[in-house]
């Protein structure tokens, strides 16, 4: 159980992240709102409660790491990093603009707080495995989080990494699978089936938890309950692509398309309304 104020605070952060996702993608004229909105609550829980990190010292060796394996959700990550204080929030207005540092996909060399460069799907879990092994080697107690897309786990390398993680007993590795059930060409189960997902991960030696990826309390509790039991953990987070903006929810069309001006105004007013509801 977490206290009411904390949950409210994180809800507000998640909405701020959502607003910045819309704002930055709208201004950029391109980008991926759908998959950014589906992870906003998870990212907010990570950066504003669960993760041990220090925006004043982005390279702190003892920090928890986050690999955004589904790198196209960069707008959500950037918003969280900016709101946490890694760089000025004003920079979010320069997403994808030449001469500015917020690249279309996460770039660890350019963006403070980004732990790994991603964008090509299927690599991030392996990278997180490497980070987790390094933590064990150094006797450090940091944890490594990796956020995966559900379509992304169609990549074979994900399963190589899954196998490696359980083989090396990486209980400092926590994967979060954004189960929004959509990829680009359609619903995941139509494009290339994934179910039974929990069973598949269990078979690879992982602890599997299934949650509602938009329920802040449940997300926080789940993180809280992860055990150091020599097994990696995957949280299958059931989410809605485009969550928080009515006309984007559950649609394929906003995977990689910015809102029009009219849609932008509507989206922002919906999110502002949601903010007011949190404060009530």
């Amino acid at each position: 159980m977490h206290d009411e104020n904390l949950i409210k605070e994180i809800k507000r952060k998640a909405l701020e992240i959502r607003k910045w996702v819309i704002e930055s993608v709208y201004r950029a004229g391109s980008g991926h709102p759908g998959g950014s909105l589906s992870i906003a609550d998870i990212i907010a829980c990570l950066y504003f409660h669960e993760m041990r990190h220090n925006p004043k010292d982005p390279k702190w060796p003892d920090r928890d790491r986050l690999v955004l394996s589904k790198g196209h959700a960069a707008p959500a990550l950037y918003a969280a990093l900016a709101l946490a204080g890694y760089f000025p929030v004003e920079e979010l207005k320069n997403l994808r603009k030449m001469g500015h540092f917020l690249q279309g996909h996460p770039c660890m060399k350019k963006v403070p707080g980004v732990d790994m460069s991603t964008g090509s799907l299927g690599h991030g879990l392996s990278v997180a495995v490497g980070m987790a092994i390094a933590g064990k080697l150094d006797g450090k107690d940091y944890r490594v989080f990796a956020i995966l897309g559900d379509g992304e786990v169609q990549e074979g390398e994900i399963w190589e990494a899954a196998n490696t993680a359980s083989h090396y007993k990486l209980d400092n590795l926590i994967a979060i699978l954004d189960r929004n059930k959509l990829q680009i060409d359609g619903p995941t189960e139509e494009v290339m089936h994934l179910e039974p997902l929990p069973w598949r991960w269990q078979a690879f030696g992982w602890d599997v938890v299934e949650i509602d990826g938009h329920n802040i309390e449940e997300i926080l509790d789940t993180f809280h309950e992860i055990k150091l039991n020599e097994k990696p953990t995957i949280i299958i987070a059931h989410t809605i692509k485009g969550k928080g903006v009515s006309f984007m929810e559950g649609t394929l069309s906003f995977h990689g398309k910015p809102p029009s001006e009219e849609q932008y105004i509507r989206a922002m007013s919906e999110l502002e309304q949601a903010e007011r509801e949190v404060d009530d």
């Binding site: 790994m116 460069s117 690599h123 490497g130 933590g135 390398e157 990494a161 490696t164």
Partner: protein, 317 residues
């Protein structure tokens, strides 16, 4: 000029790799080694025996191995990742591109069994495009040492170098040509023989052949400059230009496709003052099974073939 002598002494570069790696392991606790079920062949297993905590077999999952290497490097480790050249590069290209080269992480890919001299395994295992694949990546350093002595210098040097490196070595034993250690620097080429008629620029296994070609040409009254170019990227541009100006003719020699390798790198270095060039390499075909020596002969990767081409080039221009 540095001292290089053709000797009958043979040594395997993989042996040199593993002994250098172990030495490095004692000196630097941040060295971590990965392999993909070829640790007995690449000889990284010897490191694993001495330092079991810092050796990880990743199984037959090479692309995953390269990304794991990136993750370790992102946490401050100096990672050596080894497997055969054919698997280390082609199979892993995107992992290397996205997770090692782009974020400029400290991963050293040491690939063995490069080139046609792999022999019996045939074309599936004879990697002839790896220099091309790695050279095209920004931030990547590409190295092909000529003998075991040099390999023993390469290993600690790349460990000290901050950033991604690709090192290719062959399977076969190679004649020792350098008797003393210490010459190797990243990005530097070495004049092994002086001469004004033609410059033979060679890398990896073909440097020894180039030295033999020098002797063959000498008998025919042709004075060939011989340059050993262990670093293909960044190439020693100044030396290449100097050789071009001095001799007016260049032959490049590599156990690699004539496309995308040393030949291209040399051509690029002299593009604003070009001289006639001939490339000794594999002519855009796949290899085949056979004995290493037989294959090198069939595909023209010998001193005789280099000398023949040099003679023709000198006669023509």
């Amino acid at each position: 000029m540095i001292n290089a002598k053709l000797t009958d002494k043979m040594r395997n570069l993989r042996d040199a790799y593993s002994s250098a790696l172990i030495e490095l392991g004692y000196k630097n606790p941040d060295i971590v080694v990965l392999d993909a079920d070829l640790a007995l062949s690449t000889k990284t297993k010897r490191f694993g025996t001495v330092f079991p905590d810092r050796f990880f077999d990743m199984g037959i999952a090479e692309a995953n191995m390269m990304d794991v290497a990136a993750g370790l490097a992102a946490c401050g480790k100096i990672v050596f990742a080894s497997t055969f050249a054919v698997f280390a590069t082609g199979r892993c290209y995107d992992s290397i591109r996205q997770s090692i080269a782009y974020p400029e992480l400290n991963v050293k890919i040491v690939a063995t069994h490069a080139g046609i001299s792999v022999g019996g395994d045939g074309a599936s295992h004879q990697m002839l495009e790896d220099i091309a694949l790695m050279r095209v990546l920004p931030n990547m350093t590409v190295i092909a040492p000529a003998d075991a002595t040099e390999m023993e210098d390469v290993v600690p040097t790349i460990a000290e170098h901050e950033g991604p490196c690709y090192v290719r070595i062959g399977r076969a034993d190679a004649p020792i040509i350098f008797e003393t250690h210490g010459a190797f620097r990243i990005g530097k080429g070495y004049v092994l023989r002086r001469g004004d008629d033609v410059a033979i620029i060679a890398t990896g296994t073909l440097t020894a052949e180039a030295l033999k070609a020098h002797e063959l040409l000498e008998k025919k009254g042709i004075e060939a400059m011989v340059i050993h170019m262990p670093t293909i990227k960044p190439i020693d541009k100044r030396l290449v230009r100097r050789a071009a100006r001095r001799t007016g003719r260049i032959i490049t020699c590599e156990e690699h496709s004539v496309i995308g390798g040393l030949g291209d790198a040399v051509a690029m270095a002299i593009q604003d003052e070009p001289v006639p060039m001939v490339r000794v390499g594999i002519n855009d075909v796949f290899g085949e099974s056979g004995e290493a020596r037989e294959l090198m002969e069939k595909y023209g990767l010998t001193a005789e073939s280099i000398a023949r081409k040099a003679k023709k080039l000198v006669a023509k221009s």
